[in-house]
Symmetry: C2
Amino acid sequence: MAEDAELIRYADMLAAMGTEPRLRIVRLLLSAHPAGMVVGEIGEELGIPNSTLSHHLDKLKNENLVTVKREGVFLRYMANNEALQELLAFLYAECCTRNRVVEPKKVTCCGKERS
Amino acid sequence: MAEDAELIRYADMLAAMGTEPRLRIVRLLLSAHPAGMVVGEIGEELGIPNSTLSHHLDKLKNENLVTVKREGVFLRYMANNEALQELLAFLYAECCTRNRVVEPKKVTCCGKERS
DNA sequence: TCTGTATTTCTACATATATGGAAATATACG
DNA sequence: CGTATATTTCCATATATGTAGAAATACAGA
């Protein structure tokens, strides 16, 4: 069923972000949104070698978490807000709406808060 | 710094959920919250062999996404709302608060919605 | 203590992943 | 066309991961 495909897609997205360098990349692109960043800038900022970075960006692109556009010699990567929104909405729904496991306020308010 | 440790922890949590069987397990435990479920029930519901399931539960437990308590011969697993809250709050903050990449409403309202 | 049931650990293996140096490709520009 | 720069692809390799059958362990109850 389509349910399955959707769940697998979300699992793949989570896996794509489930690595230190890639979570760092996503976070960096979020902070640079909507301008995005060129591969070289990302690599320099995070200290990741060319080929390694290319692999990580490829994975993020495959899971649709980032988009690319060419600018002459450069490739500019941007966080894909649509995909991130879908993933967040899925998690929020599972945790806060469908099942009242996590209090909505604790997610949307203030970032960090106790108990 | 502590920042790093935190990011790595979130990456590990994402990785723990970044697999079809484990995302299914988490989702199942969320729907069974707060009662939780016994290992046998989970395995039967999802059709996962004993030893495989045990490894997956172990991983989720290591990342603190689930908690266990013994009930005689049975082990009862429960979704850990605190950890899930922290992860969701982190993602929400990154996407919606620190950077206005995803509109808050699109996450918290109605689950699925267009554009 | 013996027995039965639940769950884990042991063991094995195939596959996937992360990493990065070196070579190849793509684009711009003179 | 030749050169320079950005990025990818090729290649290799180490490590991690997912899977699961079979044996071991943990607990309860007779």
